[in-house]
Amino acid sequence: MGVAIDVQGLTKSFGSQQIWNDVTLTLPPGEISVMLGPSGTGKSVFLKTLVGLLKPDKGSIIINGDDLVTLKEADLYEVRKLFGVLFQDGALFGSMSLYDNVAFPLREHTKKSESDIRNIVLEKMDLVGLSGAEDKLPGEISGGMRKRAGLARALVLDPEILLIDEPDSGLDPVRTSYINQLFIDLNAQIDATFLIVTHDINTARTVPDNIGLLYHRHLAMFGPREMLLSSEEPVVRQFLNAQTIGPIGMSEEKDADELAAESGQELPPLPPIPLQLGTSDGTPRRAEKAPGEWCRENGVTPPPGSFESGNAGVPGVNQSRDEAATR
């Protein structure tokens, strides 16, 4: 069963450069959350802070009652065993083959026999579609493959919290869809708490239970998927619908002139909210909510056409739910 991560008033700067300020959110246990934000807003820094690799200037990160920020080094290593982390570049050990990379956590932290380890490693490698590449060195494979190998390594210890930095950058659209399906199925299986950083709008719209948006040195919004997808908040709306109209410019913020020039323009209507991606065998996940539940409970009228299909006009999403909806 996954554990909750409770983040309070987190602030981080490098020297005089403030990365983000006063970030407060709770990652609900066993749910999938996605963190979005323009490039360079400190999403990777946020993930590293959550595992205690970087010390925030202020704030607390509570996991199982322990505050990661003030924890002693030795205890920190214990808490980290709850985590599986996929770094942005895979962070594989360059001197080891993919097999040894994936086997590494098992050899370090379990007393399993080599044949047990072999079974687990081969299973995880197969899960991420890397069967047959076991003997390759990280330097000999493509970026997308490194990413998937890193994911396999993050999965072997059956973590309770999975932090995943851009699983889909460097992956082709088909692999991205497979990986997204994999996350949903994994979540159903192991009930871990997921935090996925992504730039892929499709992933953000269809995979998570919760969405967060980091923008302009703060957390613009964090909440249930339907809340953000039906939000009229300019930044959220612009980002989740990949538009140029809105406060986000090419270099972070637009200046007043640019905003004034846009003021007369009419915003395109919010696109319909797609159905959430389901597990591949159709069994519901523990964290799953009925489509439209949040909207009904909070008296929000979702954009017309919502919850009718799993792709809502964007290609590349599992179709199993569509059939269910049309039936």
């Binding site: 020297g15 590293k48 595992v51 690799l53 290593y77 214990e78 980290r80 065993k81 985590f83 982390v85 770094f87 942005q88 570049d89 962070a91 594989l92 050990f93 360059g94 590494f104 956590p105 370090e108 932290h109 890193g150 390594r153």
Partner: protein
């Protein structure tokens, strides 16, 4: 960063890391495989250059001392003086230069590139301390190899001195060998090895510190290697002076 607090912070962080290494020493499981690999690696990058440097070093000392003793009319002490010079000073210094220049730079580049590839972060997240896993075996390996190298340099240096004095300068072999123990004593050899041990430890610690704190991409690693070599040299010459000074206070000299 401030001109004054910057270096102080660095020094503080360095000593904190050195302390962490000390604390991680007794932690099990000891990384035997990594230790042996590192010993082999450091030895392989240092042995040949060390031998090549120590021959001319021994020769130059023999040349200087041969001339000096003749000027002072103490030819019979040529052997004694050159053994002292080689074992007490020349050989630890040569060892230091090579351990820092060849071994330390390799350690720093290796750890630094792992750092920027986030391998070290990944290791920490997997619940493994890079200090225990990577730094401790490297420090121990550098210490062991430094001691062995120092022995090698002493032998090659003394042999080079003998060859130069006897064969080239026409000294008498018997007098050269007989005077060996006139001034030198076993304590000289111990001091020399202790120096080498310290040099190995410091070179590996500085290299590891600089590697672990490398940042800013491949260029950052290059800078870190460069700084680690320069800083180690400065440290080593200071340590050499301090140990020599203590030696003369503690060990009674033959007269």
């Amino acid at each position: 960063m401030n001109l004054l607090t910057g270096p102080l912070k660095q020094a503080g962080a360095f000593f904190a890391m050195a302390l962490d290494v000390l604390r991680a020493l007794p932690k099990r499981p000891f990384q035997t495989k990594e230790f042996i690999q590192q010993c082999w690696f450091i030895a392989s990058v240092t042995i040949v250059p060390t031998a090549l440097v120590s021959i001319p070093f021994g020769a130059v000392i023999a040349l200087q001392l041969g001339t000096l003793t003749r000027q002072l009319g103490a030819q019979s002490f040529t052997g004694a003086a050159s053994v002292l010079a080689v074992v007490r000073e020349a050989s630890p210094i040569v060892t230091a230069l090579l351990i820092a220049g060849a071994g330390g730079s390799a350690i720093c580049a290796d750890l630094g590139s792992r750092k920027i590839r986030e391998e070290l972060d990944a290791m920490e997240v997997l619940g493994i301390s890079p200090i225990q896993r990577l730094v401790v075996p490297r420090v121990l390996a550098a210490m062991l190899v430094a001691v062995l190298l120092n022995g090698l340099v002493s032998v090659v240096g003394v042999a080079g001195g003998y060859f130069f004095n006897v064969v080239i300068q026409g000294g008498t072999p018997g007098a050269y060998l007989a005077s060996f123990t006139a001034l030198a004593q076993l304590a000289d050899l111990w001091t020399s090895e202790i120096k080498a041990l310290l040099f190995g430890a410091v070179a590996a610690l500085v290299a590891s510190y600089k590697g672990l704190t490398a940042g800013g991409g491949p260029k950052g690693v290059g800078d870190a290697v460069n700084q680690s070599v320069v800083i180690t040299f400065m440290f080593l010459f200071v340590i050499n002076f301090v140990v020599s000074a203590i030696y003369f206070q503690v060990v009674p000299q033959k007269v």
